[in-house]
Every structure is written in C-alpha cells, then in structure tokens.
C-alpha cells in the first residue's frame, strides 16, 4: 500500500467524500469522545504526568541524537541473543530482505500482526505478487484486508466501519453466517485464523520499542494474536523502524506507560511481549530463526531536518484522538496511512510536497495535538513549518501569493491600512443584512464567499477602534504616546 493511497485525489475531493460519509463521520466523533474521557481519566490519576512526558522527551532526544550508537548497540545485543539483524536504508531494501528470508525458509505462507512499518513499505502487495499468502491476524487489519479497505487510524484502523457492514462483508467474502454481534464475529474470525496460524511458515510483526541494552523487541497488543504470530511459525520477521529504539528496560517501562495510557486510555494492554532472540534448545515454543530488519526509509533525513522532533513519535494516536479536523474528515480524508496531525507532519516529510497536495493546510493550528502528545512534539508548529517550506518552494499559486504579499504591505503601513479599511468598510456596507451580518447573498465573492456560503460574516465597522480611541483620548485630554519609558 505504501504511505499514500488514493494517490491523485486532491485533499478537497477526499474531504468532500468523507464529509458525505455520515456513518464514518459519526463513528469517529463517538470514538473520539470515548477516548477523551478514558485518556483523561488514566492520566488524571497520575500525579506526575508532565514529569513523565518531559523525561520521555529527553530519552527520545538522547536516542535520536545518538542514533548510530544506539542502533549499533541494539544490533550487537540482538545478534548476541541469536537473531539475524539486517539493515534496510529504503523500503525496497527491506522488501528484498523479506523476500530473501522467505526464499531461504522455502516458505509461501505467513501470518502477520499489526505493523505500520509493513504498510509503509507496502509489504503485503509485494509478497502477494510473489505468490505468498499473507494473513492479517489483528482483528481490525483482518477486516480491512478482507474488505480491501484502507486504515483510518494508526491504532484502531477499522474505526470507520460498523459491525453490520463487517458482518455483511465477512458473509460475502468468507461465508460467515452469524449475526452482527461483535462477539459472534470475533468467534468466527478466531476459528478462521486458528488454521492460518497453525499452517503459517513465517510470522511477520512490527515492534513498538527495541531495547538497545538487551537487543529485545517488544509488542503491545490487546488481542493475543501477536503472541501467536510470535511463537507458532518457525521463522520470524520483525520489522523495526530505526526510530523505535529505547536505551534500556527502565526507559521501556516509562515509554510503555505513556504509550498505553495515551493510545487506549488504560494502564496496560492485555498483552505485553518482550522478545529476545530465537527459541533455545529445550524451549517448547518460539521461532527458531529470527530476522530483525531495521528500516530507515527516510527517518535519518527527517532527523537532520527542522522536523526532527517528529522522530520522537511513538505512534500512540493521541493526536488523532483529540484533533478536531480528524474528527470530521476521518482518517481517509488525509489519504495516508499516517493521518491526523502526526500524519500531516510525517507524510509530508516522507512523500514530499509534490505528492501531498494541500495536506499541511488541513489543520486549524489549534494545538490540541501538541498538548495531548505524550512525547511533547510541537505538532502544530511542525505543520506550520511545512506550510512555510511549501510557500518558499513555490507551491502556492500566484494569485494567493500576490494576495499575501499585498496583505503584508497593508498590515505594516498605517497609510495603506487606513485606505484599505475605509474602502472595504464602504464596500461591505451595502452587502449587509439585518444590521451587520453578511449573509449567503455574498457567497459569490472570492475569499469572502468561502466564509459566507455556510455562515454569516460581520461587516467592517464604520468607525474603527483606533478612530474612536483618538477622539476618546482628546476628550480625556491626555497626551498621545504616554506611558513610553525613557529608553
């Protein structure tokens, strides 16, 4: 799938389609409200959330600023534990490594637990094209794979679908004959997947954190499927973004606590797995052949840029869960496997401005994401920085640019400002209805119309505040420019 799906569509087209999708829109609104309460409750019970955030930020910065050191330490320890560690600078390199592992193991089937990295590099498509069977075992991912749909959230990817639609789709695709009660659907999926687990030759999984001091990889899940992917197939592929590293088990503890509380609003998930190397002689389960693929795919470029702070991201989804724009346009509005605020920042970095259309403008810069982010990433500042770069690199249209250049001049010159406000006030006056409001009748006017198509605007006042103040000052008989110190 790679990062962008529906490539070639514009932001406006996607937004229109998503706003029309009443069900998805309402589902996301409801989900956000639930997340909001749950997250606030588990964070409110901690006396030191802000301290934890700052400690985590410092750890992430330390690792990212010395990434070569930590990657080497992780690789050394993972190798010592018996895993094969491969490095992949780009998605293509990672895919070649994966295909090599399949070939060496003479394998043609695999089960997968949820991994954003596998989606980022487009693994499923490549493996399927090579004739392999790839089975998603995370419930939501299994739904999306069967429905041939795209994820709309990084933690809960099928957020936009309802159980009726899921039951119908499983009926059509897999012969499911049960009700739309979630427990029934899950039971069906469980039986369906059990055979796949037992037959699979390779297990592919992601990694929430890679611990440098021990060479272990960890997995935070709620369904238990990750453990089966982890233990049943004899060959194991672990996809690790080079930005997933934590120094040691102590920092893992802090990161996991922040991740789980932010992501799902609970203290812990049902399953928390720490995996170190292959199964040893005499151990009853676990893969005997473990391949860890460390993937860069643009991350070190981001680290060297003004967007380095986004590399602290632990993919918890808290910024999506609070975002008032995501709330309405849902994940599909962004057209990227990384939606919401972190998605705008990451997608624009990884795919480049040519491909993302106006994505960085799908944000009101309200800063809710920034204050919700457990890694204290200044998301709204980074989104604005993308805009600054886009304008500087010529991505704004000439008409818009002219308008902003003019605005810059008018708003920095009193004489120009005086003329402009007077002319505009006179122009707006006849357009007003019930007093000061500009209503739908002005929807044809460029820029103003974008506003007044759906809500009223206020007309400019006849007398500006500054004009009133001048008179007021005279009445009060005080000297102008008072209050200035001697400097």
């Amino acid at each position: 799938m790679a990062i962008l799906y529906n490539e070639g569509t514009t932001l406006a087209e996607r937004v229109d389609a998503c706003l029309d999708d009443e069900f998805a829109h309402k589902a996301v609104e409801r989900a956000q409200d639930v997340f909001y309460d749950k997250r606030n409750a588990v964070i409110g019970e901690l006396p030191n959330w802000e301290d934890m955030r700052h400690a985590a930020r410092a750890i992430r910065n330390r690792v990212n600023n010395n990434l070569d050191y930590y990657v080497a330490e992780f690789a050394r320890n993972a190798t010592a534990a018996g895993a094969h560690v491969h490095f992949a600078p780009k998605a293509e390199d990672a895919l070649c490594e994966i295909l090599d592992v399949f070939e060496e193991a003479h394998a043609s089937t695999c089960v997968k637990s949820k991994s954003m990295m596998s989606e980022e590099i487009g693994m499923n498509e490549v493996l399927e094209e090579a004739g392999m069977e790839v089975v998603e075992t995370d419930c939501a991912e299994a739904i999306l794979q069967t429905a041939k749909d795209h994820p709309s959230h990084i933690v809960v990817p099928a957020l936009h679908l309802d159980r009726e639609a899921i039951a119908r789709m499983f009926h059509d695709e897999l012969g499911y004959a049960g009700s739309s009660v979630p427990e029934d659907i899950t039971r069906f999926l469980r039986v369906h997947l059990r055979e796949k687990f037992l037959a699979a030759e390779v297990g592919v999984r992601g990694c929430n954190f890679a611990v440098a001091s021990t060479g272990s990889t960890t997995l935070v899940t709620n369904e238990g499927n990750g453990r089966m992917v982890d233990t049943l197939p004899k060959t194991q592929i672990v996809l690790v973004g080079i930005d997933r590293i934590v120094p040691d088990l102590e920092s893992l503890d802090l990161m996991t606590s922040l991740l789980v509380r932010s992501a799902v609003g609970t203290k812990l998930t049902s399953y928390f797995t720490v995996d170190c190397g292959p199964a040893h002689e005499g151990e009853g389960d676990g893969a005997t052949d473990v391949h860890i693929i460390m993937i860069d795919n643009g991350r070190s470029d981001i680290l060297g840029s003004e967007f380095s702070a986004i590399e602290r991201c632990i993919r918890c989804g808290a910024c999506l869960n609070i975002c008032p724009v995501y709330r309405h346009i849902t994940g599909h509005g962004y057209g990227s496997i990384y939606p919401g605020p972190m998605g705008i920042v990451m997608t624009s970095c990884l795919e480049g401005y040519d491909k993302v259309d106006k994505l960085p403008y799908a944000c009101s810069l309200c800063s809710a994401c920034t204050s919700n982010c457990p890694m204290d990433i200044p998301l709204h500042d980074l989104i604005r920085q993308h805009r600054v770069n886009m304008v500087a690199q010529g991505y704004a249209g000439p008409i818009e640019r002219r308008a902003f250049v003019t605005a810059g001049k008018v708003l920095s010159s009193r004489p120009l400002y005086d003329v402009a406000t007077k002319v505009a006030a006179r122009g707006m006056k006849p357009l007003a209805h019930n007093g000061d409001s500009l209503g739908p009748a002005t929807a044809w006017i460029p820029v103003l119309g974008a506003w007044t198509r759906n809500r009223d605007f206020n007309r400019l006042a006849d007398e500006r505040f500054r004009d009133w103040f001048k008179k007021h000052e005279k009445e009060e008989g005080s000297a102008p420019e008072k209050g200035k110190d001697a400097r």
């Binding site: 706003l19 960085p360 770069n389 304008v391 810059g408 820029v447 009223d456 007398e463 200035k484």
Partner: protein, 249 residues
C-alpha cells in the same frame, strides 16, 4: 498604571465595541491607556499560512510599535502568543529586533490575565460593578487556554459578575474552526467545526456565549446567526466578549 493597549486588527476593523469596552474597564481599574499609532496586526494570518518572509514587515512594525512600553495589554490571546513566541525563530539573524521582541515578550499580558493576576481583581462585581442578568457559557479559545495556559482568569472573572449564572459547555476547549486563513482555505472543514461548536453552545441553554478571543466570536456568531436564519435553531444566543460583560453595569 500606564499601559499600551493592543486591540488586534480584527477588533479594530470589525468589533470596535469590544475594544471600547476593554478600554472602559481598564480605565475604571486605574489604567492610563495609550494605543500606539503604528500598531496594526500581529501578522498571524500570513505567518500561519506559511508566508514567513512576507510577514517580516508586519513583525517589524509590531515590535517597534510596542517595544518601548513597560506594560502592554493584548486583547487577544493568540496574537499575544504569536508576538511572544512565534516571532522568535524568524528574528535570529536580526539581533536588534530580536532584543526588542524579547523585551516585549516579557512585558506583554493578556487582557483577563492582566486584570486577574497583575491587577489582582478577582471580583468584577465588587471592584468594577459589573452586572448582567443572564446565564452564560464560555468558549476556551485554543491558544489562550493551551499555549498561554490562561483558563482561570476569564472564567472566574465571568463568574464574579453580578447576575451571571455560569453554565459550562461540553468540550469547551475544542477549536471553533476559525484558525485564521484556515476558515477560508478549508471552509468545508471549518464549517463542520463551527457548526458543532455552535450546537454545543445552544445545548447549554445559555443566553450568552462569552469569548475572550474576538476571532472565535466572529466565527461562532456568524454560525449562530446563520443557523437561526435557516431555521435550524430557534434559540437566540448572544455572543459577547468578556470585556463587554465586565463593562456592563
């Protein structure tokens, strides 16, 4: 106390009444107010749209207009935050201007915070004689609440007005969808957001919706008016700036 007042361009052009009310309130509290001739706009609409070099003349104008005052009061939280923080990265190669901006950043206060914390006025009814018989809800504007951390001052001042019956709205700190040029660059999204905000205000049953940032007021008032005109609601909710509520006697 001598202060330089920054109303913000939106108040200057669209809502002079809000600025006038603020001046009345501050004068009643003993402030000697000046409004520098040169001040116009903080430049956020340009900066937030990505036009950084184009914003430079505005930044320069703004900093020069206020740098020589020891106490500056800004009527809008988001303008104040821009002046205090957002300018900084763009002034790194202009040391003289940077120094002035840093001084200004230390001398600037937001309207409600200034009254509540600096002047120490916590009871508007007792000190200002503010009085308004109405049930009122309050929208927590984004930058004021989250970036400046000013939450207590406006709410407590509002609650202390004689006759005010305060009702909290759901998700009060959720963005109203204004976002400066966002409102016209992405009007479909912006309208969804303001519609939801207006609905939560209507749902409180309050007579007035109080704002501390005029841009949010402009946005939400426009939506409430349209919803009424189109018969989507029969409720008439009056939008007021906190300054207007405090000025009411």
């Amino acid at each position: 106390m001598q202060i330089a007042f920054f109303p913000g361009c939106l108040v200057d052009m669209f809502y002079p009444g809000i600025g006038i009310a603020a001046v009345h309130v501050l004068e009643r509290l003993g402030c000697d107010i000046t409004v520098p001739e040169k001040q116009i706009c903080c430049g956020q609409p340009l900066l937030n749209s990505g036009y950084a070099p184009e914003t430079m003349p505005i930044i320069e104008q703004m900093v020069n207009a206020y740098a020589d005052y020891d106490c500056v009061v800004s009527l809008t939280g988001s303008c104040m935050f821009a002046i205090q923080h957002d300018y900084t990265p763009y002034l790194q190669d202009k040391p003289a201007l940077l120094e002035k901006q840093q001084r200004l950043a230390g001398n600037i206060y937001e309207f409600s915070d200034f009254i509540y914390r600096v002047l120490g006025v916590t009871d508007a009814s007792a000190v200002l004689g503010s009085k308004l018989e109405a049930s009122a809800t309050y929208h927590k504007s984004c930058h004021l609440t989250r970036l400046l951390g000013i939450e207590e001052a406006p709410i407590n001042l509002l609650k202390s007005v004689d006759g005010i019956d305060y009702v909290e709205m759901a998700f009060a700190e959720r963005c109203c969808g204004f976002g400066g040029t966002f409102s016209v660059k992405e009007p479909e999204i912006s309208c969804e957001m303001v519609h939801e905000k207006a609905q939560t205000i209507i749902d409180t049953g309050a007579d007035i919706a109080v704002f501390e940032d005029a841009p949010c007021l402009l946005n939400v008032q426009g939506e409430l008016t349209r919803m009424r005109d189109e018969g989507e609601t029969s409720r008439e909710v009056r939008c007021m700036h906190l300054a207007e509520v405090l000025d009411n006697r």
